[in-house]
């Protein structure tokens, strides 16, 4: 490829390098609807591990499982498993490691996916 053809590409690359970070932050702030003033998303961690990473299509729902008035997170998934992460006491939003919800037979509750 002759050098003169490369020049416009290099110029574009230079401009992109300068504008890149600004465009990036615009993309993040533009994520929220004007009617919903949400802070930037925070991934939920438990004991240094991110919650939901070992599940297929994790589906969270808030539910007070232990009746302490706090929102625990119940997590369903594609395979039909259902677990709960109990919210800890205290001001910070923190959860215990999730565990399976049991059925009548004391076995993990599981919905048929097929």
């Amino acid at each position: 490829m002759p050098m003169p053809t490369l020049l416009p590409l290099l110029l574009i690359a230079g401009v992109a390098a300068v504008l890149g970070p600004r465009l990036h932050s615009q993309s993040v702030s533009g994520e929220q609807s004007p009617d919903a003033d949400f802070a930037a998303p925070v991934r939920i961690q438990v004991g240094g591990e991110f919650l939901g990473t070992k599940r297929n299509y994790p589906s969270p729902v808030f539910h007070d499982v232990n009746g302490d008035g706090r929102h625990d997170i119940v997590i369903g998934d594609l395979g039909g498993s259902i677990t709960v992460a109990i919210q800890r006491e205290g001001d910070a939003i923190a959860f215990e490691r999730d565990y399976p919800i049991l059925g009548q037979n004391q076995q993990p509750l599981r919905f048929h996916n097929w």
Binding site: L6, L9, L10, A13, A16, A17, H24, S27, V28, G30, E31, Q32, S33, D35, A36, D37, F38, A39, A40, P41, V42, R43, I44, F50, L51, G52, T53, R55, N56, Y57, P58, S59, P60, V61, F62, H63, R70, H71, I73, V74, I75, G76, D77, L78, G80, I82, Q87, I93, I101, L102, G103, Q104, N105, Q106, L109, R110, F111, H112, N113, W114
Partner: protein, 352 residues
Amino acid sequence: MSPQFVDFDLDGHLDVLTATFDGAVHLARGTEDGFAKPEHVLDQRRNRIVLNKFFTTKNKWQTTKRSDPRGGAPAEGHLTACVAMDVDGDGDLDLILGDHTKGFLYVRRNQGSARSAKFATKNERLRCGGKALQVPNGVMSLRVVDWNGDQRSDLLVTSTAGFGPAPGSGVYVCIDQSQQGAWCPSQPIPLLAEYDGHLQLGPERVTSGLYADLGDVDGDGDLDLIVGGYATWRSSAAEVSGRPSYALAKLQQESLALAKDTARSARESWHVTREMSDAEQLQWTRKRFLKAKDPMKLFAIGAKRQELEQRIKHILPNEHKQPFLWIYQNRAVAGERKLTKPMTMANRTAAK
């Protein structure tokens, strides 16, 4: 699947209701001893609640039109999301059904009672003011919430446009527009803007497979958002530009041309061999290979593609895909949106 905790049969025990990828609605009844084994929710003719496509272990994937709305369904639907709420204000729980394929929303009315449901055999399009509701792309999850604190139920809906990084995936709320009487949800209003397809440099947001719920997780009096799903991101900050960009485009063009050749060949093979047994297919492939004008060309194409893909991978920064759960804390002034409990028939009845 997106579970809903609801007292489905008004027996004082919370049950777990959900639709799964098998295209039907399931219920685990709550009892004194815990949740019973999940069962399919059936209509009054003892058929599963479905849209069109559904799976049975006996007959694998099937399609049916038995539940289509009067006049037909707008498209072949695959039910993967369901939530129970009293849509028509008659004191029992109806089902709202979400279509994973095209984003249509349906109602299956309960023609029985709160304690003994008898579901209609037909789906109805979910409408308000004559307008049928449709979510952009496929429905992933449905939740009953009260987003604006007017003590009336709104619908939280998530959608996804595919399994990879899926531009158009988002979280929406359908606000009840009626002051009293029949429930009348608005068209979906974006609560979290749709993913624009821009590959982030880290797992900053969910890009596909969105499931969500609202609740006051930080106890400040407003509704926070929790979202589960996949993030796809790029691990390197370097943009491909200049000479690498040109080289990448050229390599991708070459690889695509080879892929088209391979695909054409595969399509031809499929049409000819689809009725054959495995042994016949093998024999046919061998013969075809021997008769080819230049059999080595087949090997050469494969090797060339492999080499090109390696070179493309070297130029392109690595992409990652992993599921996470994110919390979006609501920064609204406490008190503006006070109601924090997702509304179910159980607490709606209690409120009355």
